[in-house]
């Protein structure tokens, strides 16, 4: 009566070895056209930028920087030329630092409150209206609030970043926690989980896919407002600050370099880091992709 376990139940789906060469060829063709599309997606905007630059320079007589001008200025700055009294490295470093502090605050606060709101219906009902409003407030609206709270200082910029990054993290974490199946919670309790274990080992990992997409949106919000924050608050360093200051020196190419760096870093963090992390989590857990 003790049967040995059968085969069918135990084998993972085979990798389809026989079809491999055909599949590989198809995949190569696909990746080739994929690469072409990727190149085009960069080349076309660059071409448009170039066209606009040439057109504007001719028609209005102002030196609208072309991609090449911007690139040359970038190389010069990377070699140590000063931009608004400081090196580009200093500006970049200061911006990243402000962003990192503000964003970390938002992530920490967002995850903790998201876990609480998802867990307690009462807390959720009390707080969600405020969080929804928070999400609707445009980043620039935080300027007067920040200045009143912290004066004209770096802390205002950090505050603005945290304030704009917070709402999506809270909202997504809450949704993630609420989405954790009641059966999983029962299973955990049945296995002797206490409150702490439920939070850290069930609710937190259970809401991770949502939480990560909240972090991704929060990152984008915070990164965007960083520029505005530095522009207005006059922090004396930073990419946003130097972008605004560069135009007083008619250093438009310098301003464009700042814009380009901001775009590239944003792109790298979002597409290169956060999105793959989110996808990997979802795939590893075998969850259906929703995005």
């Amino acid at each position: 009566m003790s049967t040995s376990p059968g085969k069918a139940d135990f084998s993972l789906p085979p990798a389809g070895a026989a079809a491999a060469p055909v599949l590989r060829a198809a995949r190569q063709r696909q990746s080739l056209s994929g690469a072409l599309i990727a190149v085009a997606s960069v080349a076309i905007p660059l071409a448009i930028w170039w066209g606009v630059a040439v057109l504007v320079t001719h028609m209005r007589g102002v030196p609208f920087p072309t991609p090449l001008d911007t690139y040359r200025r970038l190389v010069a700055l990377l070699q140590g030329k000063l931009l608004v009294d400081f090196t580009i490295y200093r500006h970049l470093g200061d911006s990243l630092r402000r962003w990192a502090i503000g964003f970390s605050l938002a992530v920490g606060l967002g995850i903790v409150s998201g876990l609480l709101f998802g867990w307690s219906r009462l807390l959720e009902r009390l707080s969600m209206p405020a969080v929804t409003v928070l999400q609707l407030i445009p980043g620039l609206a935080w300027i007067p609030v920040g200045i009143l709270l912290f004066g004209i200082s770096e802390r205002t910029t950090v505050f603005m970043i945290a304030a704009t990054a917070l709402a999506p993290i809270v909202i997504n974490t809450t949704a993630g926690v609420k989405g954790v199946s009641e059966l999983l919670l029962r299973a955990a309790k049945m296995m002797g989980a206490d409150g702490r274990t439920l939070f850290l080992r069930v609710l937190l990992p259970g809401s991770l896919p949502h939480l990560l997409s909240g972090i991704r949106v929060g990152f984008a919000n915070g990164w965007r407002v960083l520029v505005a924050g530095e522009m207005v608050v006059g922090t004396a360093t930073g990419l946003g600050y130097s972008m605004i200051q560069a135009r007083w020196n008619l250093d438009y190419a310098g301003a464009f370099v700042c814009i380009a760096i901001i775009c590239i870093i944003g792109l790298i963090v979002e597409r290169g880091l956060l999105l793959p992390l989110e996808r990997r989590t979802i795939d590893r857990w075998g969850l259906a992709r929703t995005t």
Partner: protein, 269 residues
């Protein structure tokens, strides 16, 4: 071991204001190491009864006693295997089985030993590092069994654990369960709506009808173990149980009863 005294459970519905009576005045007593199958049609309150013993729900009236004490909350002394796989998708098979042991603060090397023992016991050694989504339904239920057995519970509470599996896998898992049960004796409360399954597994089959009828029959199955599911004894006992069901007052009667050679189930799931 498990004792229900005059247990009733009502579910008030906040929106409609209506009250569903899931259980009414249930008396049930299950002895130590007894294997009891709770049989009944869909919606008659089987899961509710099991959830009361597990401590997920509290009775509206009456008493639920486990091992001499009132049941107040779920705990590792009553291992539950659910119908749907409820493994943690972010943990590997190994980590899933270790989950409860960590809560009980079993020391790491001991934990490792227990985990690997129960993973081999259910035949999943080569899948110790796999994640739940890489497993078939039958394998998931094996893991679900291993993770509660690892806690050495006094009782196993199983709520139609094989109900979502195909017939062959279900038969095999029934055999596995009995084999494991011979090694690690436990009190088992096994919910099913499948008559053959109940006869093959149980020392005793308890038939539950929708409230207010409550427990309507209690049939001992005295076929010696190990049993052969194709033996005349099992077949006769199945037919005898079906006769009992047919003579019951109400809706427990299975409409497709006594069609030889087919799996006999009460309606629904």
């Amino acid at each position: 071991m498990i004792e229900l005294q005059q247990v009733s459970k009502l579910f008030p519905n906040d929106e409609t204001g209506q009250v569903v009576q899931a259980l009414q005045d249930i008396d049930l007593s299950i002895g130590e190491n007894e294997f009891v199958c709770l049989l009944g049609p869909s919606g008659c309150g089987k899961s509710t009864l099991l959830n009361l013993v597990a401590g997920f729900e509290r009775p509206t009236s009456g008493r639920v006693i486990f091992d001499g004490e009132h049941v107040r909350q779920p705990g590792p002394d009553r291992g539950v295997v659910f119908q749907e796989p409820t493994l943690f998708p972010w943990l590997t098979v190994e980590q899933n089985v270790a989950f409860g042991l960590r809560n009980l603060q079993v020391e790491a090397s001991e934990r490792k030993r227990i985990v690997s023992h129960f993973i081999s016991l259910v035949g999943l050694d080569s899948f110790a590092r796999a994640r739940p989504h890489q497993l078939s339904g039958g394998m998931k239920q094996r893991v679900a069994l291993a993770r509660v057995l690892a806690l050495d519970p006094g009782a196993l509470l199983m709520d139609e654990p094989f109900g979502a599996l195909d017939a062959q896998t279900r038969d095999r898992l029934q055999d596995e369960l009995l084999r494991v049960w011979e090694i690690h004796r436990k009190t088992v409360l096994f919910v099913t709506h499948n008559v053959e399954e109940a006869v093959y597994l149980a020392d005793r089959v308890t038939v539950l009808a929708p409230a207010p009828d409550s427990i309507t029959a209690d049939v001992p199955i005295s076929i010696p173990r190990p049993r052969d599911r194709f033996s005349p004894e099992v077949r006769e006992a199945t037919i005898a149980l079906l006769r009992v069901l047919a003579n019951l007052p109400c809706c427990v009667l299975p409409s497709q009863a006594e069609r030889p050679g087919q799996t006999v189930s009460l309606p629904g799931g």
